[in-house]
């Protein structure tokens, strides 16, 4: 039998094929970020509970819930969110919010971001969230313009059909 490439089978639903690979709009991206933020809150709450449980085991009867400052929460939340984004964008190209909304972050070659690129983009996104709204103008945030990245509609599970020759 000849060793040829098996035919690529498009697993994207029919209704989404027309815009597969297009840049995502502001609504999708805001919703995805909102989901990611909710996840961040859950993670922070879980972390707080875990830290409290650790203190309870250490202090026993003198246990009191630790006091959390806004500044400390912001710093910890920023760090956690940066880590979440970095891992998500460099591994699968999508955070959980992106996955729910069918989005994917790609670099200028249409490929998944490297770890460094994902980290820089995560830092910029976490540090300057309002810059996302430049995507209202041309569907690219300021971070995307700086790093030459993009967020696209991609309903496929694997990053297929994102090669330059594909119609999108």
């Amino acid at each position: 039998m000849r060793e040829t490439e098996p035919p690529a089978i498009l697993t994207v639903p029919a209704e989404a094929r027309s815009f597969q690979g297009e840049r995502a709009g502001i609504v999708s991206r805001v919703l995805a970020n909102a989901i990611d933020f909710a996840i961040l809150v859950v993670v922070l709450g879980a972390g707080y509970l875990g830290w409290s449980a650790w203190l309870f085991l250490r202090r026993g009867a003198s246990f009191r819930f630790p006091t959390v400052t806004y500044q400390g929460t912001y710093i910890v939340g920023a760090i956690v969110l940066t880590l979440l984004f970095t891992v998500a964008w460099s591994s699968t190209g999508r955070s959980y919010g992106d996955r729910i909304l069918g989005l994917r972050v790609i670099d200028r070659r249409g490929e998944r971001l490297g770890f460094a690129g994902a980290f820089v983009r995560a830092v910029l996104c976490v540090a300057f969230p309002p810059l996302l709204f430049w995507a209202i103008v041309n569907r690219r945030s300021v971070q995307d313009l700086v790093l030459r990245t993009a967020v696209i509609y991609d309903w496929a599970e694997q990053p297929r059909n994102t090669s330059p020759s594909d119609p999108s």
């Binding site: 690979g21 609504v27 790609i106 209202i136 103008v137 030459r148 599970e157 090669s163």
Partner: protein
């Protein structure tokens, strides 16, 4: 055998002065002689064949001694044939002599005396000819039927004694015949659809190892990966609805922004710093 038509003419009278001229050929006598000799020859062949068959049937060995002293039957047949040949030769000579001497006066007398009977004979012959022409189709058909049946039986009899296949294999260069056939032209004249209609596809499929084939196909197209991708693409119907609605909202906002900025959707897509990959 000596030719009976060669007659030696003896010069009479003046001897040397008279030029010797060869006699003019006489076609009727030649035909008669030729036919007689052919008939005698055929009879001779038949007689010899009959003698051979009788010998074989009776089991008499045909050795050199018997060949040197032919038996009585052969002797009598040979003598009869020789007598017949001599009689024919004599009859031919006499007939030729008679025709030359009595021919002209006889023809004159016959011509003057037998005019009426000849006409009657001509009429009779004409009637016979007419009768023959009327009966000819039926007679010919019957004769044809008899001839065809006889030929068929004879051919069957002969073919029963022959191994035609072996004869063809021994004497026919089949490869040469096949090489002279234009198989491409034959194939072009074939009705492939008709051949396909006659194919028993079920039997062909029954000979296949479908399980193994299916496994190979699944492996080639990586079906598990396709299933994973398909099921992972859309977790649930609600997610698909949310995605489509957000996509619609994206498009609506883009339309509003494009109208505010006075540009078309294609201009929005035409970003100078556009991605190489998405093209969006």
């Amino acid at each position: 055998m000596e030719d009976v038509s060669e007659i030696i003419r003896i010069p009479l009278g003046g001897g040397e002065e008279e030029p010797v001229t060869p006699p003019a050929p006489s076609p009727p006598s030649d035909w008669f002689t030729l036919a007689a000799r052919a008939a005698v020859g055929l009879v001779s062949l038949g007689a010899e064949a009959s003698i051979q068959i009788i010998r074989m049937a009776s089991g008499t060995p045909e050795d050199e001694e018997n060949a040197a002293t032919p038996d009585t039957a052969a002797l009598l047949v040979g003598a009869a044939l020789g007598l017949a040949i001599e009689a024919v030769r004599t009859a031919a000579t006499v007939a030729e002599l008679g025709r030359r001497t009595a021919g002209p006066p006889a023809s004159f007398v016959i011509g003057t005396v037998s005019d009426a009977p000849r006409r009657a004979a001509a009429d009779l012959v004409g009637r016979w000819n007419q009768s023959w022409r009327e009966e000819r189709p039926g007679v010919e058909a019957a004769a044809n039927a008899v001839a065809v049946e006889a030929t068929r039986r004879a051919v069957d009899l002969v073919l029963d004694q022959l191994d035609l296949t072996q004869i063809v294999l021994d004497h026919v260069d089949i490869e040469r015949i096949v090489a002279s056939v234009d198989l491409n032209e034959v194939v072009e004249q074939l009705d492939v659809d008709a051949v396909a209609d006659r194919l028993d596809i079920e039997r062909v499929i029954a000979r296949l190892d479908l399980a193994k084939l299916s496994l190979e196909v699944i492996e080639r197209i990586d079906l598990p990966e396709i299933i994973r991708s398909s099921t992972g693409t859309v977790a649930s119907e609600s997610v698909r609805v949310v995605r489509m609605q957000t996509f619609g909202a994206d498009r609506a906002i883009s339309g509003i922004v494009n109208r505010m900025l006075g540009r078309s959707a294609t201009e929005e897509a035409a970003d100078p710093d556009d991605l190489d990959a998405t093209g969006a």
